[in-house]
């Protein structure tokens, strides 16, 4: 579903991503681990076609994102570290707007409220303006947008950082559900525990390179941490 082939990005001579090749199949949850500046966000920006690759290609559902930018985004949902919404609109209005722009202007109020319920937003919050929302609530609206869009691939950029453990746990549960439904997930994260819990595979990145890929079923949590730290040290 998501595919990077020899994907490389330089910014003014600095290499942000070097020769990344990876595949995320439907149902896969691929977690990119690494320090800040390791190239995780660059990878996601390349899939979103927000930045142009220096070489290589990123494909979504077999389509090159630079050539068919709008078409590839139909399959995609993106949840950043903090989902950004319009403060002056309510949660429901934000969801309605974004899903309409994603091509789901047919959603009824009941359906939209149902999406918000599925992601665990308190029912009374739906009609409150987003200006009053906590970060966890915003993230939930972000997932609701992905649900409404019926996205086949999910790009997540540290979506749980700064969430309290309960909210992070709920988030992981939703992710697991989406993965069961056959959504391909690419998630950048710092959270080894979450990566092990939610991911099917993890990739460790360092200075723009993918240095190690592991199946999460193959390693325990302690092993993952050890391997990660090994790669960070040398």
């Amino acid at each position: 579903m998501l595919e990077a082939v020899h994907l490389t990005k330089h910014y003014n001579g600095v290499t942000a991503l070097e020769d990344l090749t990876l595949r995320v199949n439907p149902g896969d949850v691929f977690c990119l681990l690494g320090a800040n500046g390791a190239g995780k966000t660059t990878t996601i920006n390349l899939f979103l076609n927000f930045v142009q690759p220096s070489s290589g290609t990123a494909r979504i559902n077999g389509l090159d994102v630079t050539e068919q930018s709008l078409e590839t985004k139909k399959y995609l949902a993106y949840i950043p570290e903090t989902v950004m919404l319009y403060k002056n609109l309510t949660g429901l209005e934000n969801l309605e707007y974004f899903s309409a722009l994603a091509g789901r202007s047919d959603c009824t109020r009941v359906q939209l409220l149902d999406f918000l319920k599925q992601v665990g937003l308190q029912p009374e919050a739906a009609d409150q303006r987003v200006g009053t929302y906590s970060k966890g609530m915003r993230q939930k609206v972000g997932i609701a947008i992905a649900l409404a869009k019926n996205a086949r691939a999910l790009l997540l950029d540290e979506p749980t950082s700064g969430l309290d453990p309960k909210a992070a746990n709920e988030f992981s549960a939703l992710l697991a559900r989406l993965s069961q439904d056959g959504v391909a997930v690419l998630m950048a994260t710092h959270d080894l525990f979450r990566a092990k819990e939610s991911g099917t595979r993890v990739g460790i990145m360092r200075q723009g390179k993918l240095v190690r890929t592991l199946e999460t079923t193959e390693v325990g949590h302690a092993d993952l941490e050890r391997i990660y730290l090994e790669h960070m040290h040398d």
């Binding site: 979103l48 949902a77 950043p80 950004m84 919404l85 319009y86 002056n88 707007y97 091509g103």
Partner: protein
């Protein structure tokens, strides 16, 4: 999709308290300016009608006297105020409202309203045109500077573009949203304006002014579209909303406050006009050339003797003093035509320079058009001055012909009411809208060029919306 985006923009804008306050302020301002314009127009028009009637009555009620004395007695020509001057008073406050029509002289227009003003009022008056052309663009800037720069800073632009929204739809939706918000101010303001116009029907039907008003509205809308497109282009291009706001405010300030003054100064510098004294002195010098007059009168005498086939002026059956007076008029008219014509050509050159300065800012062409359509620009003033002068020359011809035909040399002669009534009443109709548009044709072209260029700029600036 475009409508979804536009609707959300409007909802967001309406929920913004600052916007509501600003909208009410702008609306109050245009209502006040229309009210002031309406009052001023009605007062002046009423005075105008009274004065016109008074001068006519005075003329008709002259006692029996020599027609040349009547010509010296003269009358006033009052410049009628165009109805749309209540929208844009143009140069009306700076040019006179009346001219004294008398024998031998083409007088300048006197009684300039601006002369009676205090220094502070000279900064300009609040007309509806000022509210529309200066204040509304500020409103547009404030309503649209965040369009892209704000969403970029908030992070919602990433969210939008990740959904696969085509930038073309986004730009169209944003433009429509700003237009709709603007409509919330423009529509009520226009209704107030139409009401102000409709409240002046005591001075005649509105029908004649409809084409002018409609074209005025079209020109204003093109101007607003230009400002919206420029604002969106800057918002798409600027890294932060703060940068966008600073750039747009600088543009607004230059466009509405600096450029008009600078263009007027530039035009005056390129085509300087003589001072009033220089102008009068030069004209007097030519008028006082007696030698030329003597030659012309001799030629006239010969013509007359040939025409009546006689060998002495005593045998000519008409009074030569009438002919001589008329010859004096004809000669003076040539001098007036040359001098006033030259002066007016200078003003026209200044106007053309001002119009072409419209390449520098969209305010200049729209200002020229606004005045032209309101009937308050220089072209309209010149048209009226020419008509008044034609009328003055007509009076002289009637008086002098009467002297030539009916009086005897050496004998006292008086004429009465019948002759005074031979001079028709002075009536002046504002030229039609097509005439006004022809005069302002370069401005129409420039305004359209600005609009197209601004739209192109917006399309270009938004083609690749950077999210980072």
């Amino acid at each position: 999709m475009m409508f979804t985006i536009a609707r959300k923009e409007v909802v967001e804008t309406l929920r913004d308290g600052r916007f509501r306050a600003l909208a009410i302020l702008v609306l109050a301002l245009s209502a006040a300016s229309f009210a002031a314009g309406w009052r001023h127009y009605s007062d002046v028009q009423r005075q105008h009608l009274e004065a016109q009637e008074a001068t006519r009555t005075q003329w008709l009620n002259q006692p029996a006297k020599n027609p040349h004395s009547a010509a010296h007695y003269g009358m006033y020509a009052f410049k009628p105020k165009s109805r749309l001057s209540l929208v844009d008073s143009g140069i009306d406050p700076y040019v006179g409202v009346a001219a004294w029509l008398e024998a031998h002289r083409q007088n300048e227009f006197r009684y300039r309203p601006a002369q009676d003003r205090t220094a502070i009022q000279r900064f300009g008056e609040l007309t509806a045109a000022e509210a529309f052309l200066v204040v509304l663009p500020l409103f547009i800037v404030l309503a649209s500077f965040t369009a892209f720069a704000g969403e970029r800073e908030q992070g919602t632009l990433r969210q939008l573009l990740s959904l696969g929204v085509a930038t073309r739809d986004l730009v169209a939706g944003k433009a429509l949203g700003v237009a709709a918000a603007l409509g919330l101010v423009i529509v009520p303001a226009t209704i107030i304006g139409v009401a102000a116009l409709a409240a002046t029907t005591e001075f005649g039907g509105l029908r004649a002014d409809v084409p002018r008003a409609a074209w005025l509205a079209v020109m204003y809308l093109i101007y607003f579209a230009t400002i919206v497109a420029i604002s969106l282009a800057v918002s798409a291009w600027a890294r932060s909303p703060r940068t966008a706001l600073v750039i747009l405010l600088a543009f607004w300030f230059a466009n509405s406050l600096i450029v008009t003054r600078a263009a007027a100064d530039l035009a005056a510098w390129l085509h300087p006009t003589p001072s009033a004294i220089e102008f009068q002195t030069a004209m007097e010098r030519e008028l006082s050339n007696q030698e030329e007059m003597r030659v012309r009168l001799d030629r006239r005498r010969e013509e007359l003797m040939r025409r009546y086939n006689v060998s002495s002026m005593d045998a000519v059956p008409i009074n030569f003093s009438g002919i001589s007076l008329q010859e004096g008029e004809e000669r003076a008219n040539e001098v007036f035509d040359r001098h006033y014509g030259g002066l007016f050509e200078r003003y026209e050159s200044q106007n053309r320079a001002f119009q072409w300065a419209g390449l520098a800012a969209p305010m200049l062409p729209v200002r020229s058009l606004s005045m032209a359509l309101a009937g308050t620009d220089f072209a309209h003033h010149r048209e009226f001055v020419t008509a008044a002068e034609e009328y003055r020359r007509g009076i002289q011809r009637v008086m002098n012909d009467d002297i030539a035909r009916n009086s005897k040399p050496g004998a006292a002669y008086t004429a009465g009411a019948a002759l005074w009534a031979e001079v028709p009443e002075f009536r002046y109709e504002l030229p039609g809208v097509s005439w006004a548009m022809r005069q302002a044709a370069p401005s129409v072209g420039l305004l359209l060029a600005w609009c197209v260029a601004a739209c192109w700029l917006a399309a270009r600036a938004t083609r690749r919306l950077g999210v980072v």
